[in-house]
Every structure is written in C-alpha cells, then in structure tokens.
Symmetry: C2
Subunit: 230 residues, 2 copies
Amino acid sequence: MNEHVPSSSRPRPPGRPPRVSRDVIVRAARRIVDDEGVARLTMRRLAEEVGTTPMALYHHVRDKDALLLLLLEDVAATMQRPTLPADPRQRIVTIFRTLHDGLAACPWIVDVLTSDDLMSEAALWYVEGVIDAAIGAGLSPRQAVRAYRTLWYYTVGEIIVRSTAARRRAANPAPTYRDEVFSHLNADEHPRLAAIADDWAELTARDTYRDGLEALVNGLLPPPIAPDPA
Amino acid sequence: MNEHVPSSSRPRPPGRPPRVSRDVIVRAARRIVDDEGVARLTMRRLAEEVGTTPMALYHHVRDKDALLLLLLEDVAATMQRPTLPADPRQRIVTIFRTLHDGLAACPWIVDVLTSDDLMSEAALWYVEGVIDAAIGAGLSPRQAVRAYRTLWYYTVGEIIVRSTAARRRAANPAPTYRDEVFSHLNADEHPRLAAIADDWAELTARDTYRDGLEALVNGLLPPPIAPDPA
DNA sequence: ACCTGAACACCGTTCAAGT
DNA sequence: ACCTGAACACCGTTCAAGT
C-alpha cells in the first residue's frame, strides 16, 4: 500500500517535490554502517547524514527494520557473482564461499542477518545455484532444499559467532570470560579440554569455514561415485 | 577486582548489609525473559522486579552484557545432562541434540548467543563430551576441536535463523518479504526455485536440525569401518 | 559496603501542522 | 506529496550524595 514509484515518466506529480529518496537513504545508511558500525546507525544519525529530519525518513522507509532489510539487499546486489565450475559439488562450495566471504566482509551484517532470511531478489541467484547443483549431484528437490538450509545455517552461525567474537576482542582487549574459564580447567573433570587448553584460542581464531563447508557438503550429498550394482 | 564473596562464614562484615544479591538478580532476570521476552529485560524493568533502583543492580553486575552472560550460564547450568551412548558418533549426536533443544527452548537466548561463545563452567561438560567422542572416533585433538566448532556454528545458526523467523511470524502474521519475493519468481531465471516455490514455506518451517546434524557428523568423522587394505 | 536521586546523552516513533 | 517541530515513552550509565 505504501508504494514508492520511481521518478520515471510521471508528468509532474502534484504536491511538494521530494528532496530525498530511498536510494539516497540506503546509500547514506551504508556509509554510516561501513565507516562507524551498525551501532551508530540510528534514524537520527541517518537523517543528519542525509540532511533532513528523522521524520522525513519515515516517509520513504516504513521503519528501521525495513531499512535494515534494504541494506541487506544492497549488499547482496553489489556482491560479485563467481564463475561456476561444472562439478555440482564444487559448484556448491564455490557459491557458499562467495556468499560467506561477501557477508563476512561486512561485520555489521550480523545484526541484520538475524532479522530475516537472506531472501532478496539479488540473493535468489545464489539459492538457485545451490539447489540446482544439489539436484545435479543426485538429491531430490526436497532434499536439495534441506541441504541448502543446513549449509545456510552453518554459514550464518559461523559469521555471527566469529565476527561477534572479533568485535568483542577489538572493543575490549582484556581476557574474555572464556579465557578465564579455560585457565581454571580441572584436568580430572575435563581431561580433553585441559590437554588442548593452550591451543584453544589459536584454534578458535583460525578461519576454518572452508573445511567445515566441505565436510558438510560431503555429508549432505551422496557419494560421488555410487557403485550401486543393482 | 569486583569480587563478590558469597555470604558464607564471614563474621559480620562492616558497612550496610546487602538487600539484593547476584542470585536474586539473575532469577528475576530469568523470570522477565521467560515471561515477557528479552526485549523487556531492561535495567529499569529488572530493578522494578527486584524491588530496587536501577543503580543498585550495578553494584552486583558490571553492566548489562555481564548480566546476559550470567543468564546464559544459568540456562547451561539448569540443563539436563543426557545419558551418553557408547558409540562416539551417537554420543556427539546426542550431546548436540540436547544442547540444541535446551537452547532452542529459550527463544530469548538468540540475542545472548551472539554475544559470546557458550563457554560457562556448566557448558564445559558438553564440550568435553564432544571432543572426547570425536577423538574416540579417530580424529586428532586439533581436528576434534575443528569438528566441535563446525557443529557449534551450525547449531547456533539454526537456532538463530529459525527462532528469529518464528518470532517475526508471531509478531506480524502478514506475508514476509521472502513470501513476496517467492510469489514473483521468474521461472526462466530461477527454474529450480519456481518449481518448489509452493513447498518452500512448508519445507522451511519443518525442523530438520537432526538430519543436518547427522549429515554434518558423517562429513566430519572418518567412515565408521575403514577398509584400508594397506 | 551498599543503596539512592537526579541527571546525561541518547533511542524509535506518533501526531498535528506546515508548504 | 512531502517535510517539520515538538513531544512521548523509553534506554544504559555516571556521578555525588546518603546510610
């Protein structure tokens, strides 16, 4: 109902001419979020950036949630599409790596990711590619959707957990609660953890998204060469 | 430095006697969060529930983030530990299912999960169990940690994405943005998606955590019976 | 040692009015 | 049709003072 028609070939609409547009707002929001972090993206700060009052924004965007969705869409739209290998298995890995890297490059995206699926127009290309490859690898359409979702959960979880941890570390260089817990480990109760306690921080800091992704794909798809002597 | 000694065998400490304690605060916070949702957990509302002023809380808890961590710890501590099967593979599945179900039962936990690893004292039991089982299944300690992390990312992602979606649906029964995108699918551009568009909502609503978990475990662990004719 | 009141520096959003 | 000012109903946290 709140349609915003692009200012294309309308012969002089009546009323006051607009001074800002959805596009201008989204670009300004992106600037704030990239330069200053999501925490600074408030309607007031955004209005300032655009050069209007907070209330002018509500004329172009329903509310702040809608704005965040527009922002997510913007990221999806400006992401580079990779050239896809022929092998379905490799195709899935390639698509998700691109998706992951593109999203992980915007640490602010974490707050937005939790607010909805990544389901903008622009993201459909990636989803289509994964479903198609999964079917190509031998799954049924329904299984393919399930596989896609599993991979998506893993990807979202990885980005959220790791980039939140990184943000925390940057904001507060003091040892985390986890470090404290690990330094008081009882070797009788938790022998395995005690044995690797010293390596834990280093192991956790390492980016193992790709390894996990490949394990996941292997677990989800049927074996590459099915002997099946039936 | 801000040590809070339990009121055990101290012979009449000087100064004003405390009227609230960390325990009382955490219990009150839990009550609010369970009954009214995380959004309502504010320092002011919490003070009201406890029967003090907001500022009294800051004497027992560093800040709101610390409070959320205490809350997470509380959940981990009150979670029931499952009896573990002998088979390492089944053991991992069992532990993560318990972890998942326990966390997913508290929809409010989403906001807290993103704020740190699940690394309270009480959670160590689960982590130790997974690492031990993974080593038992043939992984090196380092590989076991990697496997644990991959499974944790998947679990967190699943909980966050699905419970956020559920919360949205409850708050606003109108069709989501995703529904809208799916109803305008171009079958030429996205043939696979167009073919399953009608089933998408149903497939996504379904709980497939277990299936994904098992696929993940299969992909992460070495095959159960390694022929290895060397 | 523990608690309080008042204040600071913010939020998102509504509503009635202006151009 | 688009924008504004003033206001509502909130936040987390600091600080100086009280018991």
